[in-house]
Each structure stands twice: as structure tokens, then as C-alpha cells.
Subunit: 567 residues, 2 copies
């Protein structure tokens, strides 16, 4: 930024400004009005709303102008795009800043993963803030690539006081309520900074205890009653609109004239095809206004409310002295974007070159042989994961096995596929085996390294041989997704950045994902995002039955259970 005396001189018209966008209708999130204005910019900073002599003058023709949008909680990894590639797309959809939780890459690579996300997002036109992951690994019942302690939390917060804003979603609420010293030590390490919560269905005295321990927001709220209690008790309400979970319609009725400034829109997880096809927060605002939220209030929930919660003083709301991030709209209710400016420059003319290349190979897998998948027959029924379409919770089923040659095998007739999770961080050769219904395959297999939260190599299929072919392809491409049938790879999508992200342009990744989905379609799948469904089957904090490299997890009992139920 220019020295203050230069900016003062520019504001007083003693020096010209760089840019004047004349004749906008400003959606002013500070004064709560829509009013005529010009936007004068010098050195990336808003100078004023008056007429100024400018090097470049743009006539906005009375278009609405909104501040650049902020997503208060997103896992960039879930887009499948690197930070720069994500930013390139999001910026075109009006996003000026995101607060990301690099929880996924941290589970693969620990501190090195967080350092990569910081380096790879530094200096982009879209500002990327980071929250320090709080739960790596999510549970002790799986093998992650790293363990982060309270010491790591303190270290990162100290070293990046500007870019790391606090502690990311504290998912381990049982640990908080139980007073687990390691958990409380992480909260203490972030004392005085922003601490995000994650407290699905937590109510009453337990919610009091959780809030007192530090977390100040929640993005897992799904009902009005829950939203109302959390607002009353001082939590900032993140209303989530992700690819998997959408809570806007349910939660908007909890808002009123005097509390909406304590609520924000966030996306949490947003897959590349959603991002490119429907947009980012622009899509959320379109939906919010269609749901009856007044435009100024809706835009506040995607800008100033989030900035305030994160204590981002002087970022994003459009006013003198603040960063010149703004969006011109052809139409406000449909949020039809005409043009975006970040730091006073047109996004279309800005460079989103990746600041830091990724060079590691995070695929350390041993024992990828068909023999590793064999399940010898045993007495009893098979504990089976039952996928519920559109949800990340699963059923915990007990099914009769199909036995062939003394082995339990997949059964396409009943949509019963075999499922395997190969440990991929330490080349231990450890594999967890199970069965799953609801993938919808009639043949072949799919494999991927996006497998919350430890991101081991998860493989599902109707044929052991194809499962190994798909898994080996994923290893060959350095991590990613693959589909195989009849001994041949049908499609694969490299995600070489920690097995989670690609540095290819978004359109290319989207096409790759489409090719995967098309190949799966030919094998018979019935789900909208089969890989997204697969990616949650290894997440042992979501009920009811999950599979990790250590075996089947009964989430209700929070313990490893045998595959065979002799019951």
C-alpha cells in the first residue's frame, strides 16, 4: 500500500487516482442502504465515492456494486483444485477472500501441508486466510499421515499472526466436554484468537460447556431451534451451502432484524463441478434472495458479518481506506455478475499463477495385491455399510454373505460391493476390509485418495482384480481417482497434490471428474457424486458404520468391530 500521506493527498484530490468506476448503485453493507456512488481507487485502496480525476474511468451504467465476498469456512482441498486454481474460479464468481481450514492436507502431510497451503496461496489476488487444523488425526482409529499437537498450533499461530486467524473447527466436542487435556491444550494455545466450532446437535448444558471452552461459531446447525439456541448463547452462525450439505432454507427463518449480523454464509465443501457450474457464494446469495432475504442483509452475510467475526478490520466492506474488492452486477436478485475487481484490478486481467509448486509424492502404499482383498468365510453375517443417497451418515447393516471358493465376495445382485482402505502414508501394507451397499456398481471398481479425514486409499468394487487395477492406477498418477473394469483403467483423474488436489485449470479437472463419472455410469452407478459418497465412507466421526485402514468402526460405540457378526 502507498504511504498514508500519498493516500491522503489522493483523497483530497491533490493527486489523481488510478481508477474511477462511475455510476454504480452501491449495496452498502455498512450503512445498510443501496445508494448511488462512484468508486475511486488508488493503489488498490478505495479512496471515496465522489468524482475524482482518474487514469482509468469506467462507466458502470447504474449497475449494482457489491463488496467482494468472503467465505468464512471452506476446505479448498474439497474442490480438488490447488489454491491458485480455486482462487481463479472463485474470484470470477465474486469471491475476494476465503478463510480455509487445510484440514485435509494436514491429515496427509501435517505441518508441511499447511506450509504448502500458505505458500501456494500467498500473494494471490483473492486473499486466503488459514485456520489452524484442530483435529489431526480425527480419531485414533485410523492412520493419518501426521499428528498435530497443541505445540504445533501455538507455533503456527505465532509464526503467521496475519495469515492464520485462529483454530479451525473443533470437531472433537466429546473431547472438549470430557476435558481431554490434549484438546483443551489446543484451545488454550489459540486463546485470544478466533476459535471455530463444529457442534452438530449440541444443546443445553453441553453446549454451554463447549462455548465456555472457546469455540465461537458453528456451521453444523441444521434446525431453527438449534440455530436460535446457538445465537442466543453467542455463537456466530455459519449457514452452510456446500455440495453435500445445504442448510440455507432451513435456517433463514432463525434470522431477524437484530441478529442477522451474527450469521454468515459458508460453503465448507464445494466440489469443482459445483464451483464451475453453479458458482461460489454468488450462487448462495442468489438462493438467499430467492428465499426472501433482503439484498442488503444477504450481502452482509457474505461480507462484513464474516469479516467482523474473524476480526478482519478494514478488509472487504467497500469504504474509504479498505481494499478495493468489488463486484458489478447486471442484476441484483439473480446476482448476475458483470465484472469483478480485486485490489482495484479487473479479475479478468489479474494473474493467478501458483506461487509455490508442489513436488512431493505422498503415495506410500504397500501390498496392492489381490490377495490382500481376500475375506475368508466365517460364521455369522457381514457387517455392511449402507450408503444413504445424499447423506454422509450411513446405515449399519447385517447381511448374509455371498460365498465363493470359501471366500466372502461382492454380490452385484444385491448391490453389495467389497470395500478396502489401504494405509497410504507409511507403506505399512495395512488394509481394512468390509462391504458396502448403495454404490450402485454392477461390475468393475473405483479407487481414490480423497477419503476423509486421513485420506488413505479407498477402493470399492465388484471385482477384486479391478479393485487392484484401479488402486494401482491411483498410485501411478501420484494420488487421485480411478475407475477400472475388466482389468483395464477406464478413466483416472490425477490429484498429485497430496492425493487431494490438482494444479490443472478448473475446467480440465472438471472434465476429468466428468470422465470418471461417465465411466462409472457405464458400470451402473446411481449416485450423483459417487466419489464424494466414497470419500466419506472412511470418516469414523460420522455414524453409523465406517471403514478405516484399521477395520470397521462402529461409530455409535466409537470402537473397532469385527467384520463378521456371529450374533
Amino acid at each position: 500500500m502507498l504511504p498514508v500521506p500519498e493516500l491522503i493527498a489522493a483523497a483530497r484530490r491533490q493527486k489523481p487516482v488510478d481508477l474511477l468506476v462511475r455510476n454504480v448503485r452501491l449495496v452498502n453493507v455498512l450503512s445498510g442502504e443501496i445508494h448511488p456512488a462512484h468508486i475511486a481507487v488508488r493503489d488498490g485502496v478505495v479512496i471515496g465515492f465522489e468524482e475524482y480525476a482518474a487514469a482509468t474511468v469506467v462507466d458502470a451504467g447504474g449497475r449494482h456494486c457489491v463488496p467482494g465476498l468472503i467465505d468464512g469456512h471452506i476446505h479448498i482441498e474439497s474442490t480438488l483444485l490447488s489454491p491458485a486454481r480455486f482462487a481463479e474460479v472463485a474470484a470470477r464468481h465474486g469471491t475476494a477472500a476465503v478463510i480455509c481450514d487445510p484440514h485435509e492436507i494436514a491429515n496427509v502431510m501435517g505441518a508441511a501441508g499447511i506450509e504448502y497451503m500458505l505458500a501456494a496461496s500467498a500473494g494471490l489476488p483473492l486473499t486466503v486466510f488459514v485456520m489452524m487444523p484442530s483435529c489431526v488425526p480425527a480419531t485414533p482409529m485410523e492412520t493419518s499421515g501426521a499428528v498435530l499437537t497443541a505445540t504445533d498450533v501455538r507455533d503456527f499461530l505465532d509464526r503467521y499472526p496475519e495469515r492464520i486467524l485462529g483454530l479451525a473447527e473443533m470437531m472433537n466436542y466429546p473431547g472438549v466436554l470430557g476435558g481431554d487435556p490434549a484438546v483443551l491444550a489446543k484451545l488454550a494455545a489459540a486463546h485470544g484468537r478466533v476459535i471455530d466450532g463444529h457442534a452438530p446437535l449440541l444443546r443445553g448444558p453441553d453446549l454451554n460447556a463447549y462455548i465456555i471452552a472457546g469455540p465461537a461459531s458453528d456451521h453444523e446447525t441444521t434446525t431453527v431451534a438449534e440455530a436460535r439456541e446457538k445465537l442466543r448463547k453467542g455463537m456466530h452462525l455459519f449457514i452452510r451451502e456446500g455440495s453435500q450439505e445445504q442448510n440455507l432454507h432451513e435456517l433463514v427463518p432463525a434470522l431477524n432484524d437484530c441478529n442477522s449480523h451474527n450469521a454468515s454464509f459458508v460453503c465448507d465443501d464445494r466440489l469443482v463441478n459445483d464451483l464451475v457450474g453453479h458458482g461460489h457464494l454468488d450462487a448462495v446469495l442468489r438462493k438467499a434472495m430467492a428465499a426472501g432475504l433482503p439484498p442488503v442483509r444477504a450481502v452482509q452475510m457474505a461480507t462484513i458479518n464474516t469479516a467482523r467475526y474473524f476480526r478482519l478490520h478494514r478488509l472487504t466492506p467497500l469504504a474509504p481506506g479498505w481494499r478495493a474488492d468489488f463486484v458489478l452486477l447486471d442484476d441484483l436478485p439473480s446476482f448476475a455478475i458483470a465484472d469483478c475487481y480485486l485490489n482495484g484490478r479487473r479479475v479478468a486481467q489479474s494473474s493467478f499463477a501458483a506461487a509455490a509448486p508442489f513436488s512431493a509424492n505422498t503415495m506410500r502404499v504397500a501390498g496392492l495385491e489381490p490377495a490382500a482383498l481376500r475375506v475368508p468365510a466365517a460364521p455369522g453375517r457381514l457387517r455392511t455399510i449402507g450408503i444413504i443417497a445424499g447423506q454422509i451418515v450411513t446405515d449399519h447393516l447385517l447381511l448374509e454373505p455371498k460365498i465363493a471358493h470359501g471366500m466372502a465376495v461382492a454380490d452385484p445382485e444385491r448391490d453389495l460391493a467389497k470395500l478396502a482402505v489401504f494405509e497410504r502414508h507409511q507403506a505399512s501394507g495395512r488394509v481394512g476390509l468390509g462391504f458396502v451397499t448403495g454404490l450402485g456398481l454392477r461390475r468393475g471398481a473405483l479407487a481414490g485418495t480423497v477419503a476423509h479425514d486421513s485420506h488413505n486409499l479407498i477402493v470399492g468394487g465388484m471385482s477384486d482384480a479391478d479393485m487392484i487395477v484401479a488402486a494401482r492406477e491411483v498410485v501411478r498418477i501420484g494420488g487421485g481417482l480411478a475407475v477400472a473394469d475388466d482389468g483395464v483403467v477406464l478413466a483416472s483423474l490425477p490429484l498429485p497434490i497430496a492425493g487431494l488436489m490438482s494444479d490443472a485449470p478448473a475446467a480440465e479437472v472438471q472434465n476429468g471428474l466428468q470422465a470418471i463419472n461417465d465411466a462409472l455410469g457405464r458400470l451402473g452407478h446411481a449416485l450423483a457424486n459417487p466419489f464424494a459418497a466414497l470419500s466419506f465412507l472412511a470418516l469414523p466421526v460420522i455414524p453409523a458404520l465406517k471403514l478405516t485402514d484399521r477395520g470397521l468402526i462402529d461409530v455409535a460405540r466409537f470402537e473397532i468391530v469385527p467384520l463378521w457378526d456371529a450374533g
Copy 2:
């Protein structure tokens, strides 16, 4: 505060709480509702709104409960009370915290004065935050007791990171706009902290420049148009309701559903008789609700809005984990207070003992002799300060002198009194002489050390002899106010703390002030607060004509002018 595990256990009902105030109607400034609740408290911290087993249970009988109030801008010195004595009164009126600008004592004693305010307010049940004075002295045309530089600003901010929140009202807006390096250095020293503004009538490009330089609030706004522009440009609007200036009725129409969270109520200056007689922010809220502001929104403007602006995370709004500061009301619209709690204790049972006694004598005056007041006749007319009742701006009059024995003298027939400002910090013997109309005296004199902003010894009267008697009495009592007539002191009020404040109980100070006003009444004055009027006659940043120890100041020209206008 108790360790977090203890509070978690209390919240989960595994340990009893200290206090349960049952059956309130909570004015919830977070959720924007009024809802039934109980208030459970452990170790001064709100635990929850549910039923809890408690050592002490109070039934509130359905009374409304509001969070403790915060005054975002007050000069405690202007009450005439020491911090502890002020806190004692304010707490009974529902105040939980104030952000004070110790600008007055800093002008008398510099850093030592700020240290005194910090020490004298430490550990009181009412929380006192401090803003670092930005303009000591206010101008170079007067003699203050100290000079504070950018180095002092940085030093105090570094040494008191918790108690000093930022830089107090930057009154020197001409210095900001002119790019004065010393002024910009103070703003730079407070970079990243809260910087309060003071920008009466500043608009357009100049307002842009001022905001860009750092100040983020304004309490000098007097019209809706000015308020709207400042809100649009991102300033936090402090709506002032002081003893001298009252802007609520004028400014409330600038508020709407989507911007009121960017506005707060402040008192700025509130004299002891107002404070004891009418109250503090409780009086402001009564007025606000009578003016039609919805109760929740009004209370937000005296609590959470102010806490947010000052980044006081976890202070004052009533929710789990926050300080248990709250007020029970017999009636919400009239804000009739039934009981106040600070830190979970009844204010009536809390101790407000002064933490730090004051021992210095700040009266260093020389030359208090009648001869010092002589004004030899000269050609032309007298430049005369014209008091305008109820305002701190004055007229700049040119009047024919009354001459006696070759000297210009006071003239009771025309309400023309003599005015003198004796330098009182360095015993220099320097005195500025002038004349004033509008004091309303028929005889006698009044003297005081409350004389903005340098707080020299100001004396006005119809008799030189009585002026010296009153001035000497003020010196004798170590600073304060005095009235004399016919060679005798009629009344005096000691303000031995820097000549500004008393450590006596508020009622005693109020009675002392009443005795002063009664004595003045017998001498013929017509003003409501004659000493308040006198105290602004030495303030050379307010138009049009003022008097300092260096002489008459033409504020429009910002220079010293001769007493005689040869015209």
C-alpha cells in the same frame, strides 16, 4: 477466572454454580430477542440460561434483564469524580464498562496522569478501559502541563496491551488532512489498534482522507446527512448524550435495520449532578426508547455494538463464557433499575475502594496579585468573548470599553466581565487577559482549574480583587472551583486530583457543586452550569474567540490576536 475444566464441569452440572437468577426476561443482544431465561453464574462467568443447582438463588419474578452497559467514549475527569467514585455511581446506573479518554489529566500531568487513571481504575468492579490521548496539548497557543508524542503513544500501547485499546479522539483533523508528520506518527504508532475520530462537519473528500488516515469512529456528528455519510464510509457512529451536547433526537433517524449495529451511545462529558440526578447510559436508553427505538436495538447500542467496535471479545453481552455483568429492570421502557450485578456480584455489595491515592499538588501558579489583572486603556474597541447559552462555540464581539482611572474594567451594566487565564503548570506568572459577556454576574468572581484543554486557572468576575480572592482559594484547596464576593470566599469545591477531580463521594461533590451554583446565583448568574461554560472559554479549537494564558485566540484564523481592536 477459574480454570476451564472447572467451568466446563460447572456448565455440565457436575459442580454447583455460585448464583442462579431465576425467571428473567432476557433482552438478548446477540439473538435479537427477548426470551425467558435463568442466569447461572460461576466465578463471575455466565454458565448458562438453564436451571442449575446454585449456592445462591434469586427469583427475578419475570423482570427484564439486560447486559451491563458500556460507554464507548467518556472523559471521567469531566464528572469531577475520581475513577473509583465515578464507577461507584455509574455501576448503580447499570454501567459495566467504560472506555475513557484521560485527555484532561494528560494535559495537566502527561504520562503520570495516564498512569494515575490506569492505577486508580484497576480492579474496580466496573471495567475501565483507556484510550491513549492523541492531542496533548490541543494547540501550540496555550501552555499545557505536558506534551505527549508518538513515542509516548507507542510506549503506552505496548505496556498496557489489555487496558489501553488504542488512540483516543484525533481532534487535530487539520493536522491529519495537512499530513503533519507528528500527527501521522501518532496514528502510525496506533496502527492495528482502534483509533477514535473527532471530525465535526467533515464531509466529502476531506472525510475520505481523514478515514484513510486511521480514525474509525466519530462522536461529533450532529445531523442526519453527516451521520449517513459517515456510516456509508465505514465510521462507527457514536451518538453523544452528554451534559453539554445531546445528539440522540437528531441522529436516530439515520439508523435502519441494517446499520444500527454500527452505532453506539456515548456520553463524552457528563457532570456529577447529571450523573447522580439523571443517570448514565440508563438515562440515554430511556430517552432512546421514548424516541421510538425498539428496546433490543437500543440496548445493543449501549452494549454489544460498542464492545464489537472496540474488539472486546467476550465482554459484556450476556452469554455462556462471558462476564456476568447484568441489570434487572422493574420496567423496560422507563429503564427502571431494580438491581445491578457486576462480575456476578450485586453492585450494592461490591467494593469500589480507590486502588491508588493521589498525592501530587498540581497547582504551580505565580503572580496572583490584583496588579496582574490591570488592562491599561488603549485606542479602539475590546475584543470580547460572547457566551452563547447552552453552546460551547462563542461569539467574537467588538465592544466599547468601560474606562476607570485609565484602565479598562468590567461593566456589570452590560454583563461585561473581566476574564483571566493564569498559567498554572510551570509557575511562569504568565496570564492572558480579556473580557466576556454572558456570565450574568452582577458582582464578585468565580475561578476554576477545569479549563479545557490545558486546564490553566481561569477566573472571571466584576471585581479584580474578588477575582484574586477566588483564584487564591483555588490554589489553597489544591485546585477546584471557588466563588468570591466582597473580598470573601462564598463557596469552594476542592478538586485536588490534578485540579480536575475529587475523591470524595459523589453526593458530597454534587453538594459542593450545588453550593458553588447557589453562591453564583446570589451574584446574579443566569446559566445552568456556569462553571461548565467557563471551562470551555479557554479551548482554542472551538470557534470563535477564546482566551488562553498566551492571550486571545481568534479560532477562525487560528492565531493570537490583540485585546484591542483599533478597527
